[in-house]
């Protein structure tokens, strides 16, 4: 039997804060395993070595915000066997998708001394608006254990264990008392995709919805209840219009409160 070729991994960056890539670097113990099992062929954040494609697995961080990026993602897709997006930017357009609700030219004229040099698209869009995506890993940032899980799953040809149910299930499993019921704190948990381990409720906060919509979110019912808890339309709009502002269901709910 010929020696097994190590699968080639590439990590790509689009419009993003780098937090998700850092999650991979943050997997210190696991990273040694990753490095042993796969060839890190392209990962500018971590190594200068740049091995040419094709790649077995591409992890893509960030959203598409420029014409150049819109072309670049096409090339990456062609060179990748599997393409997995990591984080809210790549999966839903990220916090920068707030621009989608306004006129981006106005922002540019405020921010840049010479706006003519800025070439940007009117909207920040998720990778799946441009190319076929094999798997989307949620989170802002992603959970590093889930990242290792997804890489392992792809290496071994199995389905990743990243349950798409609500954050509530994680609260209950860890034994956290519901902040919404026991304290009247508005919480996004019931409509938010699990994965973080219910960190915020465990620290006595309502969930911020970093992992985007869960599998069958009923945002209207939750908003109605938030109102009974005293939240204003503005509060609700802002809650749905954050890291996952451009995720379809959150977008529609925020628009309903404009």
């Amino acid at each position: 039997m010929p020696p097994k070729r190590k699968p080639k991994l590439a990590v790509w960056k689009f419009a993003s804060c780098d937090g998700c890539q850092l999650s991979l670097l943050d997997c210190e113990d696991e990273l040694l395993d990753v490095a042993g099992e796969i060839e890190i062929a392209y990962f500018p954040e971590a190594t200068r070595a740049m091995v040419k494609g094709p790649y077995d697995l591409s992890l893509v961080e960030g959203s598409v915000t420029t014409p150049h990026d819109a072309q670049r993602i096409q090339k990456i897709r062609k060179e990748s066997d599997y393409l997995v997006t990591i984080g809210a930017c790549a999966t839903a357009g990220g916090i920068q998708a707030l621009r989608n609700y306004k006129d981006v030219r106005e922002f540019i004229s405020f921010v840049y001394a010479t706006p003519e040099y800025i070439e940007t698209l009117p909207k920040s869009t998720p990778i799946s608006d441009h190319v076929f995506v094999d798997f989307e890993l949620r989170g802002c940032p992603i959970n590093k254990y889930q990242l290792v899980e997804v890489i392992s799953a792809f290496l071994h040809g199995r389905k990743p264990n990243t349950p798409p149910h609500s954050v509530c299930v994680e609260c209950k499993q860890r034994g956290t008392v519901c902040v919404m019921v026991a304290q009247g704190t508005p919480c996004m948990g019931p409509v938010t995709h699990a994965g973080c381990g219910a960190i915020c409720p465990a620290f006595n906060r309502g969930c911020y919805g970093c992992f985007g919509p869960m599998e069958s979110p009923d945002t209207k019912s939750l908003s109605d209840w938030w109102k009974r808890l005293g939240a204003s339309d503005d509060d609700i709009l802002r809650a749905f219009r954050s890291f996952n502002a451009y995720a379809e269901i959150f977008r529609r709910e925020s628009e309903a409160h404009e």
Binding site: S152, P163, H165, C168, P190, S221, D224, L229
Partner: protein, 385 residues
């Protein structure tokens, strides 16, 4: 034989914790945490929610001070004893790759000796229901069984009913009728504070022997009886169980399911807090190198899509089908499957539903849709948080 009751004075209550600890039990009982009365390990009576009570409504729970120093002056906890007997997550086995294939490593079953302090009658019935599920029949659950067989149960009869309680409707309380080692009724009067103790097992007798106690006077037993009679009329909710099964079987198609589906979030909280819900899922995990694998079992819920996933998709893809499945199982098909209702009337699913969905209200609405007049005394359950 007349029942023999004893009295344990409030000032001797710490000794109960001490005796159980000395017997090697990890004592688990009520304590304040995260704005609620939760169950956790106890070593001292000082950790207990002395003088606190809870106000419960659909989707709402608040702690409040009582005007006395009751130790058990509250109702059901956010989560039941289920998490101690049927833990949220259990590793079932691990496997390692070897030159010849792989080697299976069985998981040692670790069952702490636990004493549950303050189990309410509804929860005793829930434990009996889970006993049937996990320990009856051909397939025993070794995790549950090993934990279950070691527990010592100190039941507490409810001195008040909560806003979402309906054990009287389900014949599951408020008085503990069996399934305990010791059962206590707490009596708080202006100048007296004591517990009427009933022994339910030999183990219970042995523990009582190590405690300062005296035989109860008739008047004290009477005080406990009267209290429980009063409580059984205080229920915050009522569930009319007459022909409940038939009504549900006749109403798989009913507009009420559409209305509840408009409100239900499919968040699964109701099933997680329910003391009888037992469903789990299996996760197989491998590490990066592929040389190590493990299988983990964790709580699942009929409200998730994966729960009814078969090749091609989820069978219960709508919120309506998922809520209907859950409620019909609790109140109807459970009888066919296990011989009792799957609901003990603890009210947790009502209190801890983030949007206050109430199965007693849903059941009443379906009943009324058939033309039945609303029962007098049924509280309109529309809750305000």
């Amino acid at each position: 034989m007349t029942q023999q009751f004893s009295i344990l004075e409030r000032e001797d209550f710490q000794k109960l914790i001490d005796v159980l600890s000395a017997d090697g039990y990890q004592v688990i009982g009520p304590t304040l945490g995260e704005g609620a009365v939760i169950y956790d390990e106890l070593t001292s009576i000082e950790q207990m929610p002395i003088g606190w009570t809870d106000i419960q409504e659909g989707g709402k729970y608040r702690l409040e001070r009582r005007d006395d120093d009751a130790l058990f002056g509250f109702n059901t906890s956010p989560q039941s004893w289920k998490r101690f007997l049927h833990p949220p997550s259990v590793r079932l086995w691990q496997a390692h790759r070897t030159d010849e294939g792989f080697e299976l490593q069985h998981e040692p079953i670790e069952a702490p000796r636990m004493a549950f302090l303050g189990v309410r009658s509804c929860d005793l019935h829930a434990i009996a229901i889970q006993d049937k599920v996990f320990m009856n029949g051909d397939y025993l659950d070794p995790t549950y069984k090993s934990r279950r067989e070691k527990i010592f149960v100190v039941a507490v009869n409810c001195g008040q009913a909560g806003g979402t309680c309906f054990c009287s409707s389900m014949n599951t309380g408020p008085k503990a009728e069996g399934g305990f080692d010791l059962a206590l009724t707490e009596i708080v009067e202006s100048r007296q504070h004591y517990f009427v103790v009933e022994v339910g097992s030999e183990k219970g007798q042995e523990v009582l022997h190590q405690l300062p106690h005296r035989p109860a006077k008739d008047s004290e037993v009477k005080a406990a009886d009267n209290l429980l009679k009063k409580v059984s009329k205080q229920m915050g909710r009522i569930l009319d169980t007459e022909q409940m099964q038939d009504i549900l079987y006749r109403n798989y198609e009913n507009a009420r399911w559409d209305s509840v589906a408009q409100r239900c979030l499919s968040c699964a909280n109701c099933t997680m807090v329910c003391p009888t819900c037992f469903c789990t899922t299996i996760q197989d995990v491998t590490d990066l190198s592929g040389s190590h694998a493990e299988r983990v079992r964790r709580w699942d819920s009929c409200f998730t899509m994966d729960f009814s996933y078969i090749h091609g998709g989820s069978i219960r893809y709508s919120q309506k089908s998922r809520y209907r499945q859950w409620m019909t199982h609790k109140l109807a098909t459970w009888f066919d499957q296990f011989g009792t209702a799957g609901c003990v009337g603890c009210g947790r699913c009502i209190t801890w539903c983030p949007v206050g969905i109430d199965l007693t209200e849903e059941m009443a609405a379906i009943r009324e849709s058939e033309g039945a007049a609303p029962k007098p005394g049924r509280k309109p359950a529309s809750a305000k948080p």
